[in-house]
Structure formats: structure tokens, C-alpha cells
Amino acid sequence: MSSKNDLFNYPFSHIYVEHAVADHPLTKTILKRFSKSVVIPIEHYKDVFNRSRQNFGEQKKSQSLILARRSGPSVYKGAPVCQDFGYDHFYYASSIMNCIFDCEYCFLKGMYGSGNIVVFVDLEKAFAEVEELLSKHPVYLCVSYDTDLIALESLTGFASRWAAFALAHENLTIEIRTKSFRKDIYDTITPCERVIFAYTLSPDEIIQKHEKKTATLSERLSAASYAMEKGFPVRLCFDPLIYCRNWKDAYSSMLFEVKDRIDTGRLKDISVGSFRIPSDYMKKLRKDFPGSSICQFPYENRGGVFQYPKNLQNEMEKTLVTMLQSLVSKEKIYMTDFEEKDEGDT
């Protein structure tokens, strides 16, 4: 009798490789590392990634890797639901699609039809696009939105390459967001004020229940602290705030641990925002994850974005900001105000 645990193939047991990148050095490095995986040649990554009726949740249990080249743009304007931290020219780069972590609420589950990971091995194409933008104005670029680059660093080396690229371009500021425990990257790259490492934090009970495969709170704080010691600017992201019945206690305990483990005076800044997701993404999430309490929560649809009921949202955000003000000055706390921003835009 088998159990559900041994039902699935191991992660990256199958690697789909576009013909066009079969000879790319990174492709060769990755295939050498996963020499036991089944390699399936493909014409275009969308033949696999964009198939209809894929089950994101099931694919997450046995993720395949797709190695491809970028046929469209790699750099996009930042979305209104994302925090721009006051930068005028806010973009994000998509060099990898999807993540090895499995956060129940992740917007990628609503955005993509597949749970498999696509690595665009031709990172140099993204660099060229950013250089084109830099010729017009300074750029603030989030490079780890559609994935967790630090978690995939040993596979791709992309985080280090982005950091080196930013170091060489003085009008470029990048943010590398993560939920990883890894610290080794800070021993190998050069600190730069314009390379911000952002740690998304949640209470441990949220992590254990809803952020599968990610580092514990303690591990994240340890990595963030190490990054600061090494001279890197560090941002803490309490975004998304996730509701649970005892959220006040849970977040209060978390902040106690933050205070205990981090020299908060050295933080670059902090962002706060409660969970929110475009309604079409949420419709897909609800269909694909019927057993997820986060997906099935009775949210309000305000302006095409699913959010906690207004009272609850305000209470959660205000409570957290009040608690945070004992750790850092008010000016360092960025609130997500996309509803106002949207109204302003229209």
C-alpha cells in the first residue's frame, strides 16, 4: 500500500529544455547537476507551461523545471497593488517564473496556469532591457517578485548576477525579496546601498500552516541580521499580513522575536500591507485550492481586488504599525495604499 508521500516524483525529476537553449552554459550546468532527471526537449516553454487545465497544487508536489529563453519582455512596470517605496520609476523583472516555496496565498498561483518553474537562462537579455531603461531615467527594480531568487541561487546564480549588475549601474536600485534561510550569498557578493535584501516575515504559526517549505521566522531573522552585519541594506516586509483567529497575539509575539533578533536601528525600512489579490487571480485560487482557508476566506471585492473586510484590514494594519513604531521611526514604515493610488490614477 502506498502513501500519498511516496506518490509523487521528486522535485525537478523532469526537466523540459527548449531547443534554443540546449547549448546555453547555464542549461548545461543545471542538467549536469540533475543528471538523473528525465530531460524532455521542447520547442517553446509555453507548450508546457501554458497547457490548459493544469493543476497548480498537484504540480507543486512534484515541480518540473523548464529551461527557456525569453521571447517577450523581461522587465515590466510595477503593479499598483505593489509597494513602490517612493521610487518614481518602479519596475520588476521576471527572470524566473514560479517558486520552490509553497505559500498558500501566493499570487503566482492565480497568475500562472502552471506550478512548474521556468528559468529564462538568458539573463543577459533582461540586463539589456534594464540598460535601455537606465539610458532614460533611474530605475527601481524588484527582481524577485515572480520567484524567490535566493532560494534558487544555487541553481541559477541569478541573485548574485543581479547584485553585480546593480553595483555596476549607479542609477539602478534593486530589491531582492525572499523567505529563504540562506546566508552564504552575503559572503560572496559585494555590499551595495542599492542592492536591498527584503525579508518577508510572518508569525511562525502562519509560516507552518500556510508558507510551506519556507524558512522559519527565526531562520529568516538570522539571515536578515547576517546580511546587515555584512553591510547590506535590509528591508522587512510584513506584507502580506494574514488573518488568523489570534492574529493580535501571533503578530505581537513575532515582533517580540524581531526586536530580540534584529538590530532594528540598522534596518533600511519596513513595509506593511494586508493580504490582497486581484479578483481574477482569487477566482482561480479558490477553484484550484478548495481546501485552503486563506483562499476560501470570505473577502470583500473592492475595486476588483479581494481584501479583508475594511474594518478588519484597518485594524490589522493599524495595530501592526503601532507596534512597529516602537522599533523604527514612522518615516521608515511604508504602508500599502494602492486603493488611494488607484483612485488618484483615475
Partner: protein
């Protein structure tokens, strides 16, 4: 539930016997067999991609597929260099040049299907007399079956189990029914083992109490929109393991259920929401 599709009766015969399937005596476009306990159903499609697609659609619609829990398995012969049973990970339609990729999520090595048994397959419209690409397998249905079945099921729930019967023949009569049945018979233990293993992936434990939902919606005089809202609360309660039945009982005791009007019903749904979060 397992939906099986074989091109020929000679290929299906050992499976029908091993699963103790009964022939459906109702008028059917394809010879159809089913298990008494509704755990599986099998159709014999005939040869060719189009009839493969048609029979897949027939099976899945007639027997009420459930996309969250059912599997569709094409079991049959193919041409190839080396004998054995193969799990197909890539299908190319030789006519259109299109490719299709069933998801390879399950570890079936304990069923006699290790990673080395995975292979690409080309669907052709005529019997092959020789192997154009010796590394590939050749059949006449898979492309059509995949295209049809993928309208109903996720790509990880569509499996192609192909056994090599020949390496291309000039005369189709060279392959007898008895020989095909004999080849199929050898693979039955693996097929049964695959079914046993995939039974673990047939559970759908996210469904809520439909009867309680319907009676509540009726008692609240719920409109279609209110039903959606109520269903969402039932799903949330199920996911969070909250005692929605107890909460509804207390709303009954407090005289809020049944509601006298749709407007009152809406107030009760709001109250239910408050008590759940």
C-alpha cells in the same frame, strides 16, 4: 474512477478479464465495459486518432467525469525498438506537428515503470513499416485521445501506457489478435499496480455537506448571488474546520432561520460570516 480506452478488443481483453468488467448492453457508439462498483469503465475505440478522440469524449461525458479525482488511461500497443511497457511523456502528432505533454507527477517506479520507461511517442495515421526515429514509439491514437481528454481532465490525470508489439510491419496481418492479447496480458500486473497506486490520488476531501447547504439556502430564501456567498462560507468553514453545523443550529434556536424574506436571509448570511471569522 478510472476511464480506460483501448484501440482494439484484442488489447482490452486481458484488462476486461483482470478487472472483471461487464459489457454494457445498452446501445453504445463504442463497445463499453464497466465495473459493478463503478470504479472503472473501458471503451474500445477502434484504430485512429479521430476515433480515439471521439471515444474519449464519449466515455468522459457519458460516465460523468470528476476532474478532481478521475484518471483517464490509454492502454495499448505501439511500434518501437525495444519491447516493454512505456509511460509516454511527449506526444507528437505527425500530421499537424503539434506536441502534447502529459504531466509526469507520479512516481510509478514501484509499478514497473521507472523513469527509464518514459518515452516520447509519435501518433501517425498509417501503420509504420519501419521506425523513422528508433528512439521514438509510434501509435495511431494518442494525439487525438490527449487532445480530447485534456478538455476534461488535468494533464496529470491522463496517462498513456503503451507496450511495444513490433518495430514496424509491412503487412498488418503479420500481427494477430492472439499476439496482441498475449503482449497485453504480460503488462496487466503493471497496469493493476498503477491503478492501486493512483487510488491515493482519487480522493477529493474538500467537498462540503451539500445537503446542509441546500437546506440552508432554501431556508434563507437565497438568491443566486446569496447562494454563492453562502457556498463560500461553507467552503471556508470546511477549510478551517469550523463547526458550521453548530453555528447554524444556534441561528435556528435564535429564530433567525428560517428567514421570512430574502432580505432577512441576507442578514443571516452576514451574521454567519461574523461568527465564522
Amino acid at each position: 474512477m478510472f476511464f480506460f480506452q483501448c484501440a482494439l478488443a484484442a488489447e482490452a481483453k486481458p484488462l476486461i478479464s483482470a478487472l472483471s468488467l461487464r459489457k454494457d448492453t445498452n446501445p453504445c457508439p463504442y463497445d463499453t465495459y464497466f465495473a459493478e462498483d463503478s470504479s472503472c469503465v473501458l471503451a474500445i475505440s477502434g484504430i485512429g486518432s479521430l476515433t480515439g478522440a471521439s471515444s474519449a469524449t464519449y466515455l468522459l461525458t457519458r460516465f460523468g467525469f470528476r476532474s478532481e479525482s478521475d484518471f483517464f488511461i490509454n492502454f495499448g500497443s505501439c511500434a518501437g525498438k525495444n519491447p516493454g511497457l512505456y509511460l509516454i511523456n511527449k506526444i507528437t502528432d505527425s500530421t499537424t506537428g503539434r506536441t502534447f505533454y502529459p504531466d509526469m507527477l507520479y512516481d510509478l517506479s514501484s509499478c514497473g515503470l521507472p523513469a527509464s520507461s518514459e518515452n516520447a511517442l509519435v501518433t501517425v495515421d498509417k501503420i509504420v513499416s519501419s521506425l523513422e526515429d528508433p528512439a521514438s514509439l509510434y501509435d495511431m491514437e494518442a494525439s487525438g485521445i490527449y487532445q480530447a481528454a485534456s478538455h476534461f481532465l488535468s494533464p496529470h490525470r491522463i496517462l498513456f501506457l503503451k507496450y511495444v508489439s513490433d518495430s514496424g510491419v509491412k503487412d498488418v496481418k503479420a500481427i494477430t489478435r492472439e499476439y496482441l492479447t498475449e503482449c497485453a496480458q504480460k503488462q496487466i500486473p503493471s497496469v493493476l499496480s498503477v491503478m492501486e497506486k493512483l487510488k491515493d490520488a482519487c480522493d477529493d476531501d474538500s467537498a462540503f455537506d451539500e445537503e446542509l447547504f441546500l437546506s440552508t439556502a432554501l431556508a434563507l430564501r437565497a438568491s443566486e448571488t446569496m447562494r454563492h456567498e453562502l457556498a463560500q462560507l461553507f467552503r471556508f468553514a470546511k477549510a478551517e474546520d469550523l463547526p458550521i453545523e453548530e453555528i447554524l443550529d444556534s441561528l435556528h434556536e435564535e429564530g433567525l432561520i428560517p428567514a421570512a424574506s430574502k432580505r432577512e436571509g441576507k442578514v443571516v448570511i452576514d451574521e454567519l460570516k461574523k461568527r465564522l471569522i
